[in-house]
């Protein structure tokens, strides 16, 4: 289906390939690559007006969603880019009104009441061409790239506020944000980290290793011991794959177990999310397309065992964690509660771009 699409560039195909074969892993490298890709598109001469550009960007987004539906970050970066194009265009087109428009992008009751019929229709027209648009866009996208680059640092700067002396912290699997976060706690503070290994991939071992190298007290426990261990844990700090529009998580399988155990013991659950992981997507039902993935089951039940042809084995990759189990999100610019996610979404993306299809 994708072949023959004129928007499918070599770079894009490379990105899809790299993610599929597991060469490009982790949300940061993927989003960085994606942003560079978008910069090339903006830089290229194939577009004349903002409208043209938005079509190209949106088509690119569609290709990616079809090829890699589980990588929510890709779509988010595309949405962010579309919003930037809208903003820059509006600024050039009607500089004196730009400020007014800024806070009225999402549909709101206020807009419903105060709108003037003529202007609301004009807003969807992006066909005027501007000389400065390209340059402004490149500058703005570079800013975003910078923001992306610094997001982990900004996140981990907040570590001293959340981790205190002689605390026991539980985490799950391996998350780059969590690793950096824990390592940025001042060295004088002695605290203990308990890492649930997150079978079958057991990426938790990697985290424990890395923490131990940084002279942080680390303990690995099997996933089955999460509940038993929770009673002495002071805080749960986990990363996530993406945050959904209701404030729920799409996180590594096992996160729900952790969150439920934490709820039982009233232990606070803190989730580290760089801004680009916020997705304007709802979990409508559990059979939702591309919500979950099934991973390799070799480590659950080796293929060459005697029983393997008689029984089934599954290794789902993700868990949905409902918002009421989460105490706090920490993003690059501070902490917020799950109920605030909707607000951040309206600030980060344009409502017309929620659906890229």
């Amino acid at each position: 289906m994708i072949e023959g699409n004129k928007y499918l560039t070599k770079e894009l195909a490379q990105l899809i390939h790299d993610v599929k074969v597991g060469k490009l892993v982790g949300s940061y490298p993927i989003s960085k690559y994606m942003l560079e890709n978008l910069l090339t598109i903006v830089n290229s001469t194939t577009w004349k007006t903002a409208d043209d550009l938005m079509i190209i960007v949106r088509e690119t987004g569609k290709i990616l969603i079809n090829a890699l539906p589980q990588e929510a970050i890709l779509a988010n970066i595309v949405r962010r880019c579309l919003k930037i194009i809208r903003e820059e265009y509006d600024e050039l087109n009607m500089p004196q009104q730009a400020k007014q428009i800024d806070d009225s992008q999402a549909a709101s009751l206020q807009k419903l009441v105060t709108q003037n019929s003529e202007r609301s229709e004009k807003r969807s027209d992006y066909t005027n061409s501007h000389v400065d648009l390209r340059e402004n866009l490149i500058n703005h996208l570079n800013e975003i790239e910078n923001e992306l680059h610094l997001s982990h640092d900004n996140l981990s700067q907040q570590a001293p506020e959340h981790v205190h002396s002689s605390e026991i912290i539980l985490t799950l699997g391996y998350s780059k944000s969590v690793e950096k976060f824990l390592k940025s706690v001042p060295k004088e503070r002695k605290f203990e980290v308990v890492v649930a290994e997150c079978a079958p991939s057991c990426r938790g071992h990697m985290l424990a290793q890395s923490l131990a190298n940084a002279k942080i007290d680390a303990t690995v426990i099997p996933d089955s011991a999460i509940f038993a261990y929770m009673s002495r844990v002071n805080k749960v700090i986990i990363g996530t794959h993406s945050v959904l529009a209701d404030g729920g998580l799409r996180a590594a399988s096992g996160a729900f177990t952790v969150a439920l155990a934490a709820k039982h013991h009233s232990t606070p659950v803190i989730v580290l999310v760089p801004m680009f992981k916020l997705s304007p997507v709802f979990l409508c039902n559990f059979e939702q397309e591309a919500f979950n993935l099934v991973g390799n089951t070799e480590s659950v039940l080796p293929y060459n065992t005697r029983v393997s042809n008689a029984i089934k084995a599954y290794a789902p990759v993700f868990d949905y964690v409902p918002p009421e189990l989460i105490t706090l999100f920490i993003s690059s610019n501070g902490g917020y509660t799950p109920s605030y996610v909707y607000r951040l979404l309206t600030e980060t993306y344009h409502p017309d771009d929620y659906e890229l299809k």
Partner: protein, 303 residues
């Protein structure tokens, strides 16, 4: 316009179009008032509108959405007026009437927008529980059926006036599989359904809703059995009340106007109840899919 004329017109348009929400009818009536009155100052206009609103409230129809919609309409006039300072009153009137028409059109489209938002949540083979009759729900379910989705709907009778039976009738006409259940059977069917979907007469600032009596019971059951509880409602039903319990609801919302024993409220069966925001999973509105806490945000932005 005389009070009686206003009421008559209001009741007439409700009668003519059974699909019209009371709130929309109220706004239509108020637009007519705006067209018919001659005013020399905005203040005078606002006063006329306010007295028209109070006569609408006395018309005997459920007042919850009438209240919120007319409050929105007054906002619509007062927020617009500073921009019109250098115009004559005649010009102001035409501008307002024009804008009023677009405003009304936006509100009338609301239901379609909500139905579209809710579409991904209705999937093949799902079982839905709903309470009584709601036009938004009906429209949403019909749209889902038109998209060839197969699902089953359980509808409570809502024994006060058997609105549920009417709902089932209408669903059957659209070839949607449905079952009419007793109000008391909510707990029984709860384990077999996928989610609850109800309409609302009003949405409070807390994010909670006012709806046909029995909604709160349903929300409690859904919470207990961990089923999602979705509310579908138009944004003109957002109002600035902040009830903390059932008693806090204004009596005019709870009891029908034209019942005979008005003095002894406690003996009359209330028509509506309040469902607090903690029991609600998501609110689908024409402004998008909101979490209950987003409602107060919208209201703060406006008032």
């Amino acid at each position: 316009m005389k009070d009686l004329e206003i009421q008559d017109y209001f009741l007439k348009i409700i009668e003519e179009d059974k699909n019209m929400s009371n709130g929309i009818a109220a706004i239509k009536t108020l637009l007519l008032v705006l067209e018919r009155t001659n005013f020399t100052t905005i203040q005078e206009l606002v006063n006329t509108i306010k007295s028209a609103v109070s006569s609408l409230k006395n018309s005997g129809k459920p007042v919850t959405s009438v209240c919120s919609a007319s409050e929105l309409f007054i906002c619509f006039i007062t927020l617009a007026s500073p921009k019109l300072e250098d115009k004559t009153m005649d010009e102001v009137k035409t501008i307002m009437l024009n804008r009023g028409q677009t405003f009304l059109k936006k509100l009338e489209e609301g239901r379609h927008v909500i139905a579209k938002h809710a579409m991904p949540f209705i999937t093949d083979g799902c079982r839905i529980l709903t309470h009584s009759r709601s036009r938004v729900i009906l429209e949403t379910l019909k749209l889902a059926a038109r998209q060839n989705k197969h699902f089953h709907v359980f509808v409570t009778t809502s024994s006060l006036d058997n609105e549920g039976a009417k709902m089932v009738e209408e669903l059957k006409n659209s070839n949607i599989e449905c079952t009419l259940i007793l109000d008391a059977a909510v707990g029984y069917v709860m384990e077999s359904i996928d989610f609850v979907m109800v309409g609302a007469e009003g949405v409070m600032e807390s994010g909670g809703i006012i709806n046909r009596i029995g909604t709160y019971t349903m929300a409690l059951c859904a919470k207990e059995m961990k089923k999602p509880f979705y509310v579908l409602t138009e944004s003109f039903k957002f109002s600035r009340l902040y009830p903390l319990n059932q008693r806090d609801l204004p009596n005019s919302y709870k009891y029908p106007k034209n019942s005979e024993i008005r003095d002894d409220f406690k003996k009359i069966h209330p028509l509506v109840d309040y469902t607090p925001p903690l029991k609600i999973t998501l609110i689908f509105t024409d402004l998008g899919i909101l979490t209950p806490s987003a409602v107060s945000d919208e209201l703060i932005k406006l008032y």
